[in-house]
């Protein structure tokens, strides 16, 4: 048992080494992009064409097919950023900070997408583009946190200090993730409750649910693909003068 522990750590550190991460991310990217294109294509067609209209919201409910995956990714990308930042901070694994830096702009863009599509959905359903509702407000705070983390990282001349400060802020800000998710349960909210995440019983018929699941899978694959692409850039920026980079950029 004790003998295997150092071996496991060696394997882990080797896997998280910059050349290994650069190579693995490059191999994964085309597969993830292909999966994303297929799942998003099928999900969009199913959501716009084949899913029946909602009995209350009519065809306006179809906005869920881009709004819910964007909102889910906004939380997932933040959690990834905070966990990766914590790994970088605690175990001093440089790639942890690189993953955190790569995840931030992607998460921020999907948070903006969730806010804009939610606002456009809110107008016909609630009669307003914006309300200071717990779900909407906490999602807006999430966008500010992303902007704060990105600004903090670039505010330091020493990249190492910038990474550590950004990791600390993202770890503190992760408290907002469950607040966003459970805001519709904890407080009175204009926003509808959980649709898919109800354990064992989604509040949707299968004919409406399958395109949404396709979109979730597609958005996750897309996130993985752009994370890998950005991560390769981050690793190169941080390891510019390492010996392995010569071989990597010439291949």
């Amino acid at each position: 048992m004790n003998g295997s522990a150092p071996g496991m750590w060696t394997w882990f550190y080797r896997l998280a080494s910059p050349p290994s991460v650069y190579r693995t991310a490059g191999t994964l990217t085309p597969w993830l992009l292909t999966g994303a294109a297929l799942a998003i294509g099928i999900g969009t067609l199913g959501g716009l064409k084949f899913a029946p209209p909602d009995y209350q919201q009519g065809d306006a409910f179809r906005i869920i097919y881009v709004h819910a995956p964007s909102a889910w990714l906004s939380l997932f990308a933040y959690t990834t950023m905070a966990v990766a930042g914590a790994i970088g901070l605690i175990w001093r694994i440089k790639v942890g900070h690189a993953v955190a830096a790569a995840s931030a702009p992607i998460g921020a863009s999907f948070t903006l997408s969730a806010l804009v599509t939610g606002s456009l959905w809110g107008r016909p359903m609630w009669g307003t583009y914006w309300a200071w509702d717990p779900r909407l407000t906490s999602e807006l705070i999430l966008l500010f946190l992303y902007v704060g983390v990105m600004s903090l990282r670039s505010a330091f001349e020493d990249p190492g200090r910038g990474d550590r400060a950004a990791a600390l802020l993202s770890i503190v800000g992760v408290v907002n993730v469950p607040i966003v998710h459970y805001s519709v349960v904890w407080w009175n909210s204009l926003h509808q409750g959980a649709t898919v995440a109800k354990i064992g019983k989604p509040a949707m018929p299968v004919s409406m649910l399958w395109p949404l699941l396709c979109m979730f899978v597609g958005f996750m694959c897309f996130y993985g693909a752009v994370l890998c692409m950005r991560l390769r850039g981050e690793v190169l920026n941080r390891e510019r003068q390492a010996a392995w980079v010569r071989e990597a950029v010439n291949s």
């Binding site: 084949f50 209209p53 881009v66 709004h67 863009s109 997408s113 692409m229 850039g233 190169l236 920026n237």
Partner: protein, 57 residues
């Protein structure tokens, strides 16, 4: 299937549904473009750094 009034009218909600899809797909497109550009720029910087290291030797 979409309700009467045609696919493009989205049952009278076209001015909300289509901009949502356009914005979300715009975000996907921006992410793919900017991630690729970020990697390409990083590669160029690495090549320049390696060339400078070679010159200084």
């Amino acid at each position: 299937m979409t309700t009467g009034g045609g696919f493009w009218s989205m049952g009278g909600y076209a001015r909300f549904v289509w901009p949502c899809f356009a914005f979300a797909f715009g975000v996907l497109g921006w992410n793919a473009w900017s991630a690729r550009r970020f990697h390409v720029e990083a590669k160029k910087r690495a090549v320049r750094a390696l060339a400078m290291m070679g010159e200084s030797r």
